[in-house]
Symmetry: C2
Subunit: 453 residues, 2 copies
């Protein structure tokens, strides 16, 4: 009998998050106020986020204590198990050992509650009564619905309309956890009404939904906004994944050669990667690889530039790899990866060559996902299938190179609420999307006049 899982007891859960900003060899470019072109100040953000979260967003402290109230909720599913994927290894028949963190064990089925729980908690402490947010496929919206319910806050989620209609189960999860879910664009906000006036049948986009959520948050007393990826504090909260993985790998005396995750806004990848980037900064040999969709290849095809986080240009200008804030990604099933930009921290580390990026089309990712389900049992989320494609790729490279490798990756969530995507794949209805270069050039015109980082 071979040991499949490495567990941590409740009392072994990490008590601090890791803030990589403290260890960066070169400083990051600051976010800019789009009106003044100056660095954003905490006051600029005070209408959007509570001050305790703004402080963390700007913090350079290496370790940040996780409040007891947050730890107590984390324990509902954390520490998450570290698995060895023996069955998948056997199928691949390559000289690799494959370990993964199973973030699908959370009540929402993904890594998103790692950030939703502290956000709800800090808002509660700061006196917020309700949180407004947006969601694409629904992973973030459902996670925040659960978290706000646990801390007694109200919650409204603007969900991209096409997902609202095509993926009713995540809307039902939000309702079950007591939140309101509104299809976006809606007539509840000026941003939504503007879009509807021009395009009454608009299917919506993440950029529009962000604009609606921010508008409502800043214009409604007692309300604040929450973002589920991209920003520094979100990545900070997700580092619990990598910190646990390091403890678990140490228990079995193994250190990974490669650490991988899928990349949309960057939060689940950063969650497992940043503690290992810290090791790398301090001289350890480890390769970090982010896997993104070829239909939305910000890291592999976008420039590093200042750009807005949303379509309505509500956010500060962020220094990141981007395809342009008005880029609408193809309707692939990995809704969580359909974002035009990339977290500034991840972008900085790619630019500084600490992290590599690769892009995979969705057919290749579902091929890997079905192989995974049929060997390891757990059905992966469409987003997670991207890192699985990268793992297959890395295993094949190991065979070609004749090298033994230890791979560690973040299995970011299960696909039980995304089964219609598998149905489409298995019945031959899925398409591969590769972004043509001229389309990228077009998309980037929207940012040509912005300051250069």
């Amino acid at each position: 009998m071979e040991q499949v899982k490495v567990l941590l007891e409740d009392h072994e859960i990490p008590k601090q998050w890791y803030n990589i900003v403290a260890d960066l060899p070169t400083p990051m470019k600051p976010p800019l106020h789009p009106g003044t072109g100056q660095q954003v100040t905490p006051d600029d953000l005070a209408a959007i986020f509570p001050m305790n979260i703004i402080e963390q967003e700007a913090s350079a402290r290496r370790w940040i204590d996780i409040p007891d109230e947050v730890l107590q909720k984390y324990l509902l599913w954390r520490p998450s198990p570290l698995y060895r994927a023996y069955n998948f290894e056997k199928l691949l028949n390559c000289p690799v050992k494959i370990y993964y963190k199973n973030e699908g064990v959370s009540p929402a089925g993904s890594h998103k509650p790692n950030a939703a729980i502290p956000m709800a908690y800090y808002n509660k402490v700061a006196g917020t009564k309700r949180i407004v947010t947006e969601t694409g496929a629904g992973q973030w919206g459902s996670a925040l619905s659960m978290a706000t319910q646990m801390f007694g806050l109200g919650c409204r989620v603007y969900m991209v309309k096409i997902s609202y209609e095509q993926k009713p189960y995540r809307r039902m999860m939000m309702n079950t956890w007591g939140a309101e879910c509104i299809p976006s664009p809606s007539n509840l906000t000026q941003a939504g009404r503007n879009v509807l006036a021009e395009h009454p049948d608009s299917p919506g986009s993440l950029g529009i939904a962000i604009s609606e959520a921010i508008e409502e948050a800043v214009t409604t007393k007692g309300s604040r906004y929450a973002l589920g990826s991209v920003l520094n504090h979100v990545l900070l909260y997700q580092t619990i994944i990598g910190l646990e993985a390091q403890k678990q790998m140490k228990k079995i005396g193994v250190y990974p050669d490669v650490v991988m995750g899928c990349c949309g806004g960057g939060s689940n990848f950063a969650g497992i990667a940043l503690p290992y980037v810290c090791d790398k900064i301090h001289g350890k040999k480890v390769k970090l690889v982010g896997a993104e969709p070829s239909s939305c290849p910000s890291l592999t095809k976008g420039p590093f530039a200042y750009d807005f986080g949303d379509l309505a240009k509500t956010t500060p200008l962020l220094p990141m790899y981007t395809l342009g804030h008005d880029y609408i990604p193809a309707p692939i099933h990995a809704g969580g990866l359909r974002y035009h930009g990339m977290a500034p921290i991840v972008s900085h580390l790619v630019r500084e060559k600490f992290i590599e990026a690769r892009a995979y089309d969705q057919l290749k990712t579902f091929d890997a996902g079905v192989k995974w389900a049929r060997t390891e049992g757990f059905i992966p989320a469409p987003e997670t299938n991207h890192v699985l494609a990268a793992v297959v790729d890395e295993a094949m490279r190991a065979r070609e190179e004749g090298k033994e490798k230890v791979i560690l990756f973040n299995w970011s969530g299960h696909g039980l609420v995304d089964l219609s995507a598998y149905d489409a794949y298995l019945s031959g209805k899925l398409q591969a999307y590769e972004l043509p270069d001229e389309e990228i050039a077009r998309a980037l015109r929207s940012i040509k006049d912005f300051p250069k980082p």
Copy 2:
């Protein structure tokens, strides 16, 4: 920080299943051959099941070794965590400590793989090439699809047609794991064609689907049948739940006053209860409570009688609490509890007063389920909501009696593939079903001429 979970490491997994037949103070009535009225022999079953499983079905050995190959697959999610439900306790505000086994952590999201994995394994060893089975809401069909894929067997699942149409996600799970899923009644079997000839629009029933699956299994070379509940060997495999729970409760030095589970065919309830019934037989004070739907109240309103397990009268006559083999339960959302009979072992223990039973209507169960989701996070399956209603009930009794109680129950699965049921409940569309006494009398006419146990 309070400890929420009690874990077992991989090497602590129980290595044997517990067979309560060895410990029964009074012997069970045997299953009968409907033609001869005599006790069923192993040969009578040889066309349906492989001989290694038939031997276990009839075994009186107390402990049965779990094969290494089965243990290795169990480790993909077992040992399952034992939880303390602090948040739900706080909400109820009663003098109870509530512990639960989270069986929702399996890849299929329920306890069903505990039985599917050994069944696939034993069939593989016996030379079976493919397994045919039936499924109601789809929990069993999806679990067996995964298990057969893992051991390289083919799998066909007859799924009750109305569930096939209303719950497409579980059909998609089966396909993702490589199995065929056929809506029943179908024109692939004589049993199905007979039903369709009379009722072309038949929505199907579990009884019809069982008949179709057995017919195909016995008439197709290399094929065998598998049943996901009711029979002795199925309950045997599920005892791993209770055996793990006993190890975990021992670790924290707590012994339960009450052990509970929901009851459909009886397998998940038996899984947690039988090791504790063993304690009770040997003098320990512990109460066992099964929770069934008031729309299908075999234990609380049916007689103890010989009856068929299926509508087409294909199975042996089983001694059990039953509402009659032609009883079609109301279309409640807990599809896994819509079965006219009850496992003979559970029935025997209820008759001998080792186990109590209670019935709950579905409105009460969803009320408990939503409260659970909003405090503990995990969204329960509609079946699981029945035991939650019983837990609430037991907690209220403790408060009325002014007694402190430790409750342990089996959280049999998550409801992420059943969210439309929550949607119906939250929008006020769910109905309560109570079975009228005259309906029971009518249903029982179908068994009036059978031998009496």
